[in-house]
Symmetry: C4
Subunit: 236 residues, 4 copies
Amino acid sequence: MSRLKRIVESPDTPAGLVFDLVVQALVILSLVSFSIETLPGLSSTWQKRLDVAEAVVVALFTVEYVLRILVADRKRSFIFSFFGIVDFLAILPFYLSLGIDLRSIRVFRLLRVVRVFKLARYGGAVRRFHRAARIAKEELVLFASVALILLYLSAVGIYYFERSAQPDKFGSIFQSLWWAVATMTTVGYGDVYPVTVGGRLFTFLILMVGLGIVAVPTGLFASALSKARELESDEP
Amino acid sequence: MSRLKRIVESPDTPAGLVFDLVVQALVILSLVSFSIETLPGLSSTWQKRLDVAEAVVVALFTVEYVLRILVADRKRSFIFSFFGIVDFLAILPFYLSLGIDLRSIRVFRLLRVVRVFKLARYGGAVRRFHRAARIAKEELVLFASVALILLYLSAVGIYYFERSAQPDKFGSIFQSLWWAVATMTTVGYGDVYPVTVGGRLFTFLILMVGLGIVAVPTGLFASALSKARELESDEP
Amino acid sequence: MSRLKRIVESPDTPAGLVFDLVVQALVILSLVSFSIETLPGLSSTWQKRLDVAEAVVVALFTVEYVLRILVADRKRSFIFSFFGIVDFLAILPFYLSLGIDLRSIRVFRLLRVVRVFKLARYGGAVRRFHRAARIAKEELVLFASVALILLYLSAVGIYYFERSAQPDKFGSIFQSLWWAVATMTTVGYGDVYPVTVGGRLFTFLILMVGLGIVAVPTGLFASALSKARELESDEP
Amino acid sequence: MSRLKRIVESPDTPAGLVFDLVVQALVILSLVSFSIETLPGLSSTWQKRLDVAEAVVVALFTVEYVLRILVADRKRSFIFSFFGIVDFLAILPFYLSLGIDLRSIRVFRLLRVVRVFKLARYGGAVRRFHRAARIAKEELVLFASVALILLYLSAVGIYYFERSAQPDKFGSIFQSLWWAVATMTTVGYGDVYPVTVGGRLFTFLILMVGLGIVAVPTGLFASALSKARELESDEP
């Protein structure tokens, strides 16, 4: 039992590393097959192959889930932990689909994508992100609020300037908000853009202010993260 | 009276926190209803509901405004402070619209958006931004000037290269300035872009220089902000 | 004479400040009038007004240029300094246009834009930029080279993937270079984009690498600039 | 022999510097001629001129390659080093094309672009990049994983929201991934964009999270690079 525990829970041992790599490979295989299924005009031969692959993957994930419960010291707290729930949700859709009418499943199947979070178990990623988020938290909240207020103000402004020139594209503040999102993030799809002189001047001014507001948190988080790394290396 | 004062002015006490959260919820409710009103083809039933909601919100904001004046130690200086004026402007449009002809109000109603600034009262946001802006001020002014000069030069340059190939899109320096804004911020809507070899080469060169100029202030402000945080934590 | 010198050369004194502000206002006025001239369908009445404004501005700039030479301690070195040449070029086009045939002037008139550099005389901008550029020089050159190599490689790559699918847009490496510029800077006009699966995968990979390469110099220059500021404040 | 060695291997001496500059000029000449060859409708006269230029360049590169082997202390380790292989691949396509049927060469000729790496020999670029990559390695891997997971999740999300509204553009997860790449990098070509309310809200949320994730590594690498520079200057 304690040998099994070491394999399942410690990726430091050779056997544990193999176990983890196999699980990760299964996750990626399962996501690829999930993506292929969405291809339009898939032949029924391929559909069957993917169904078989899915069944095999779910079987193996079920084994993994049961193993993790078995070796856990505090079974209850594992089941209700983040990764315990992820592991459960990763296999749930399959078993539910066995009992339910086939029509309603399509959207439900999207839940399989939750498996991607199984990849996050490795590498101390979660812990370090958590710590960096805690250091820069106050500033991030502050900037998020300012960014939201600015987004709203720019939507109201462009609505005022463009609604008579382009009533189909800037017909309400909600439509203008879409322009604000596409512009302030500098994505700029080009489906909506101002055509009046006032609207263009307004776009210029709001971009000058907005680029900083949207981009600054990035720098804050980066410096918080390097601080988090320093704190970790100071620990014993 | 002093109990009322504590509720209105100190969000640290439980009652004060509730008061603030109610005001913030009202602001957001009022902005949402303001946005819904701009939807084209709104039924008159909904229009009436929104009018009622607006009246209720204004009534409550009026009560809040009167309370804040009552509890203020120096009433005059509150009325003419930034938030005093914001609170006043937040209710003014409604009362004015009761006495004035209905036609001219539409644009005037946009003033209601000033309520968004009531959200900024909380969290020390204003003070910290102010301090960070003061630290990085000289560099920000410097970069803003350089960015404006560069924008103008790139507009003149692209006007020279593209005016004969696309006279409808690069017909004057003002039109070229719109291209310069959309390009230097990397928004790139795609409504105007160079088609000549010279114009494309020029775009490449000006982007290489410009990306730095436009993006650098961001980094400066981020480092100024973390310096402002350090200064604050040094204070007693 | 020494009073005149103080007015022309020291913006610290009240009279010197007024002198500088007047010159800056003239520069901006002259650039605005230059931009208005490019508007198509300008009435001849306005054209005449702009011609008068231009003559007045050039007269004043000539006075300024002569003054600056008069008060300079080393006249020769002022005339051949950066700002000496800028001041000369700012008035040259006008005087040349008096003697030359009117047809060929249009392009030549663009030279008037050189006046924008007169604005750079103020605020220690030039010195600080120079210093920051010197600190980060080696890295900037390094990154510029890497960015150019990457741009070229991505143009060759996309040419390989897309030339048969879109021969009109990716017909040669030069055309592909335009795509590379618009993509790696994330401007993304949308006039050219990959449509093949291979081209899209290639775009993804090259963007992952390229975004860092193009964006990193920004951070380097920002930190170099704040170092330049520290060095300045250490000086007496 | 030892004089030849100094010319070929040390760009610090005048003769060595000339040697290096000549090689670099040849590389750039060869890349330009390679680009010109891809121009459609090239006259056969020019084609011939380019063929001659190519032959001359290859001859000189062959001489350079032989020289480098001759002067190398450990010939074997040079031949199998990164730059040894680059030098070999730079001339290989030409000699192979002499013996093989002309049809199949076109794609093969693209290999000539490997010459661009000969430019990387200079300036300590490789060593410094290597060192910076090692410092920030763990974070870069971490962020790359998170970015990939986020890209996949956003593709699945947008597929769910847009597939019924735009079945031709968001028909499968693979097509949605293309949208995710163009959006999360903020390139935003504008060939695919969400049109449903759900899809646009989702785009907003995923961009808020994603911009940070994609942009943060940049800041990390920049600070790692400046640390690498400090370490270098500490060395004797």
